[in-house]
Amino acid sequence: MLIPCPWCGPRDEREFDFGGSDAKFPSIGTPRDSTTDTWYEAVHIRENARGDTRELWYHLSGCERWICLTRDSVTHEFTNASTSDQGEHPGESDAD
């Protein structure tokens, strides 16, 4: 697979570590969120969707950043790559 790293461009999958689903944890320190049930849902209940899935990859042999990607689990087509912390494509902001 060619993984579209927002920082490094399309790169071979061998450069990456897979980081699982892009599931957000309940927020820390908020008692309402931080119950066993909400954490159970967040940690153990996964969609395993046929089609678009949001997932994380770590660009080990590259920028060493975590990136979020949308991958079609059937065709392996990637859409919507974003850096983890900006939530937007770094190239886009540069292009302005």
């Binding site: 931080s34 954490w39 975590w66 979020c68």
Partner: protein, 971 residues
């Protein structure tokens, strides 16, 4: 004497008659020419019988002239190399001195004992093994297997030459990037490559054979008024002029993967070189052509029965006349005419042709076909004497690569087989591989598809009109005669007959994938290239379903076998998995250190003195640390700097114990949980500045903890102001441990005060070493003794260790390794990842429940509360000592209520995580995870090792065997 070689120079455009070669086949010395394959050279020497079939040991010859060959499987070697089994004689290029041997025959190819299997009634029918060797249940392993292995299986791996020396090793792996990859260089591929190259596209053209041109090389059809040979050489000349075109001959594209990646293997000089290509293409034009299908009739497997196209190829390409008198059974009218014309031109007498409405009912000839019996439309049987039968049931498009990525093929009624549908990916099928067989149509189709690819990647293309699959004359394949056709072979390599398929369907295996697995149809080195369409037809007939209703079996890479050595290429040994060495490695080596592998690392194990055993060395090293001073390499620990306004908040969320409010210059032990509440890792948290921390991770988890921390910081809590830096490799870490370590520290020339008040336990100091190298010193202890972990820039390590030895000489400073480190930590009951922290234990299980903070939220808190993780009935960490104080506790034992017995099964209540003889305590001690262990203090039970055949009575106690109050590291 090459009796079958045609002397006229009008034949044989593949061979170079000026370069004769010698080779041997089953010990017989033969000759051929440069350019020959083993198959063409054998046929030139009038050898048809090449080997025996896998199941019935029937004589088998050469069916085809290429990658699809199911029957002519040989073992080849060159002097000084190990033989390589299961090679297709039709693929191996002849080389000087090549040693070729037949397979599956015993004692000889001409007389095979097991060949008797093919006589008599049906013996090895489909599912034979499954049905026959069920009883008694132990029989398979005890005796059936041993007998069957002798005459089953394909080929033998032999290693006359030991080591890897006798195997092909000269393999390379390369990447190639292009805009258009063209697979196949027949008329479709060559024309498509020309169109793309003229548009300026970066093109890679791969061809599995040594010569470009594909079917044009032997079909000899003129293109317009230009001969085929001329057209090919003009095209190659033009392509060679373009610097952006790469031609790869002898390269087989064997797998199509995501995002336009195609893997290809280019064979070099047989057998010891090759290149494994990873070709990344924006568009792939699949012009892989078609493979001829044989006809299914009784005894259709005799040597001398060959595919019509293969016969033409042997005549025209290799100037080899495979027979003198041929019977022609070709379903397609045009193909039949062309076959007859080529045979006649090569002086092959035509015995007869199979006409429409006729059936072949039998053939004769033990080691070579002698005659064909034909039933006419009037039900008359006519016997034709011949020594060659040219068969063809039409051509099957080579669709494999189009189907590798879940591309389901569709049945095309016109071509009467499966072809690739229009793909939405980067692959476009061109020419015969999409069912177009007419040369003019192939050329116009390849132009259209090439323009389409150009347009898709943004190079202007002028799309003309498309050409869809067209067959000029519907193919009229002769029917199988009625009756049980248990010698009418569908799959030659696996000896699957038409009768087997009928029987399989009648036993209920109707799905084509099940049929494949029950009968082995389509398995083996040829992967059913000549059999899969015939098999579908037979199954369709047996089930009564039309073939378009049947699916096909899944096509997977590789298209054809490729050497494992090519996949591995240079990535062997350390190039596959490099060994990591710590900064101390060189100086430790000089000190006579014995190293051991630990994960990726080569780690110092112990430092033996002359004539000292491992046990003696470890006891000495342990004693030095307990009574004097020693030092150990801790450089493999993960070391991560954490900076930023929210660094404290971040760490507070990550560790389950309280780490906030840590004063600058102080250290705290940190326990990290996974989000499900299980212990992940432990280490220390040291505060270096206001917004500056450094944390450590265990060696084994170093990378995992780094990924975890960065993921939390970047993904889960991007709003936190925290910056992580991995400095694991920047700092070497030497722990100086023992009651006299403070004295050593005082003499190192540090610009920090090392007196107790200024450097208490659990503190960190930054300074310089002799006014030069910066250093960080952590007073933490894994050994239980007073200990200072000195971090220095990795490049200074050797000098530092040498200085340490010099300063410490008066104190008897003793380097120690992993073995002594382990003894020391077991004596203190300290934890190790992989032993006690094994991915199943909670803080409570490890006796650390009190560490878990109740005053804050952290990763793992919520799910740690689950009742299952809080239950008393869990395995809990305890310390064990031998009850009699003398016996040795067996390593790797389990815990039971009674000693090891021969007869009874024991209930196991836990297992040992570590067991060692403690020189300090003077007896065997162990750590163990014991069910409900924390409430079993003082109880006695048995540590049992069925593997070692030993059991020892042990007493349950605390995990700390030494200095439970911790006075020693506060000294």
């Amino acid at each position: 004497m090459q009796t079958n070689r045609i002397q006229s120079s009008g034949f044989g455009n593949a061979i170079d008659r000026s370069r004769p070669l010698t080779f041997t086949f089953d010990g017989r010395k033969l000759t051929g020419y440069s350019g020959d394959t083993v198959a063409s050279a054998l046929l030139a020497n009038n050898i048809h019988l090449v080997g025996r079939s896998i199941k019935f040991h029937r004589p088998r010859g050469i069916l085809s002239c290429g990658v699809e060959e199911p029957s002519a499987i040989v073992r080849c070697t060159a002097p000084g190399l190990n033989p390589v089994p299961n090679l297709k004689a039709t693929e191996v290029l002849l080389s000087e001195g090549l040693i070729v041997e037949s397979q599956n025959s015993w004692p000889t190819r001409n007389f095979d004992v097991f060949g008797l299997l093919s006589f008599g009634p049906r013996f090895l029918q489909a599912g034979f093994y499954y049905k026959t060797f069920l009883w008694p249940h132990f029989g398979w392993h005890r005796f059936y297997e041993k007998v069957i292995r002798n005459f089953a299986g394909l080929g033998r791996i032999r290693t006359e030459i030991p080591g890897t020396g006798g195997y092909p090793t000269n393999m390379d792996q390369r990447n190639k990037f292009c805009q258009v990859l063209v697979i196949g260089s027949g008329p479709a591929g060559m024309n498509a490559a020309l169109v793309c190259a003229r548009k300026g596209a970066r093109v890679v053209l791969v061809e599995q054979e040594p010569t470009f041109g594909g079917s044009l090389l032997w079909r000899k059809q003129a293109i317009g008024n230009i001969t085929a040979d001329r057209w090919i050489s003009d095209a190659l000349d033009e392509l060679s002029q373009y610097p952006h075109v790469t031609q790869l001959p002898r390269t087989q594209a064997f797998g199509h993967y995501d995002h336009g990646m195609v893997l290809a293997y280019q064979s070099g000089e047989w057998p010891d070189s090759g290149i494994f290509w990873k070709i990344h293409a924006e568009r792939i034009l699949l012009a892989s052509g078609a493979i001829e299908r044989p006809l299914v009739f009784p005894n259709n497997d005799r040597p001398g029965i060959m595919l019509a196209g293969a016969v033409r190829k042997y005549l025209n390409r290799y100037a080899v006349r495979p027979g003198r008198r041929a019977f022609i059974a070709v379903a397609d009218d045009n193909e039949r005419k062309a076959t007859i014309s080529d045979c006649v031109a090569a002086n092959i007498e035509i015995a007869a042709c199979l006409e429409h409405g006729q059936q072949i009912v039998d053939t004769n000839g033990r080691r070579r076909v002698r005659s064909v019996s034909v039933k006419t439309a009037e039900n008359k049987i006519i016997k034709h004497n011949c020594d060659l039968v040219c068969v063809s049931g039409g051509w099957t498009p080579t669709v494999h690569l189009a189907a590798h990525l879940q591309g389901n093929l569709q049945f095309d009624n016109e071509v009467q087989t499966f072809i690739a549908p229009e793909h939405r990916g980067p692959l476009l099928s061109v020419g015969a591989s999409r069912g177009i067989f007419n040369l003019e149509s192939i050329l116009s189709n390849s132009e259209y598809q090439a323009h389409k690819a150009m347009t898709q990647i943004g190079l202007s293309g002028e799309c003309g009109s498309n050409q869809t699959a067209k067959v000029e004359n519907p193919i009229d394949r002769p029917d199988l005669p009625a009756g049980s056709n248990y010698r009418a072979f569908v799959d030659f390599q696996n000896d699957v007959t038409a009768a087997d398929l009928v029987q399989t369907v009648s036993e209920g295996y109707r799905d084509i994938e099940l049929v494949k697995r029950y009968t082995a149809t389509g398995m083996g080195t040829d992967q059913g290239k000549t059999s899969w369409t015939n098999a579908i037809d037979q199954v369709a007939a047996a089930t009564g379903e039309p073939p378009e209703q049947l699916a096909h079996t899944t096509f997977r890479p590789p298209y054809s076998p490729i050497p494992f050595a090519g996949i591995a290429a240079a990535r062997t040994g350390e190039q596959m998995k490099p060994i990591r060495r710590t900064p101390t490695h060189r100086v430790f080596e000089q000190m006579g250190c014995v190293f051991q592998k630990s994960g990726d690392w080569l780690y110092s194990r112990y430092f033996p003195q002359i004539d000292e055993s491992l046990e003696q060395a470890v006891a000495r090293e342990v004693q030095a640390v307990r009574t004097g001073v020693g030092f150990v390499d801790m450089s493999t620990l993960g070391k991560f700097e954490v900076r930023g306004q929210d660094a404290e908040n971040f760490l507070s969320r990550v560790y389950c114990n309280n780490v906030s409010g840590l004063p600058i210059g102080k250290i705290r032990y940190g326990l990290m949980l996974r989000e499900d509440g299980i212990v992940f890792d432990d280490g220390v948290v040291a505060r270096l500045g206001d917004e500056h921390y450094i944390v450590t991770a265990t060696t084994a988890n170093s990378h995992a903890v780094w990924l975890w921390l960065t993921k939390l910081a970047q993904i889960q809590w991007p709003a936190l102001d925290v910056t992580l830096t991995n400095v694991s490799e920047n700092w070497a870490s030497i722990a100086i441990a023992g009651p006299r370590s403070r004295e050593i520290l005082g003499r190192l020339g540090l610009d920090i005060d090392s007196s107790q008040l200024d450097f208490p336990f659990a503190a960190v100091r930054e300074g310089r070493l002799q006014g030069d190298a910066s250093c960080r010193i952590f007073s933490v202890s894994y050994s239980g003794e007073l200990c200072f972990e000195v971090n220095i820039p990795a490049g200074y390590t050797s000098g530092f260790v040498e200085r340490l030895l010099e300063i410490g000489a008066d104190f008897g400073i003793t380097p120690y390794g992993l073995e002594a480190l382990d003894v020391l930590r077991i004596e203190k009951g300290h934890l190790t990842v992989g032993r006690e922290i094994d991915g199943r234990t909670t803080p409570g299980d490890l006796g650390l429940a009190k560490m878990v903070s109740n005053n804050k939220d952290f990763i793992g808190r919520a799910l740690l509360r689950r009742p299952g993780l809080q239950s008393d009935d869990r395995l809990q960490l305890v310390g064990l000592t031998a009850a009699d104080g003398v016996s040795e506790i067996p390593i790797g034992g389990v815990l039971a209520e009674s000693s090891l017995t021969q007869s009874s099964r024991q209930e196991v209540n836990g297992y040992l995580t570590a067991a060692v003889f403690s020189p300090t305590v003077g007896k065997s001690i162990a750590l163990a995870l014991l069910r409900n262990g924390h409430r079993r203090d003082g109880e006695e039970l048995w540590a049992v090792s069925p593997v070692a055949g030993a059991s020892t009575k042990v007493k349950v106690g605390t995990t700390c065997f030494y200095d439970a109050s911790g006075d020693r590291f506060n000294a």
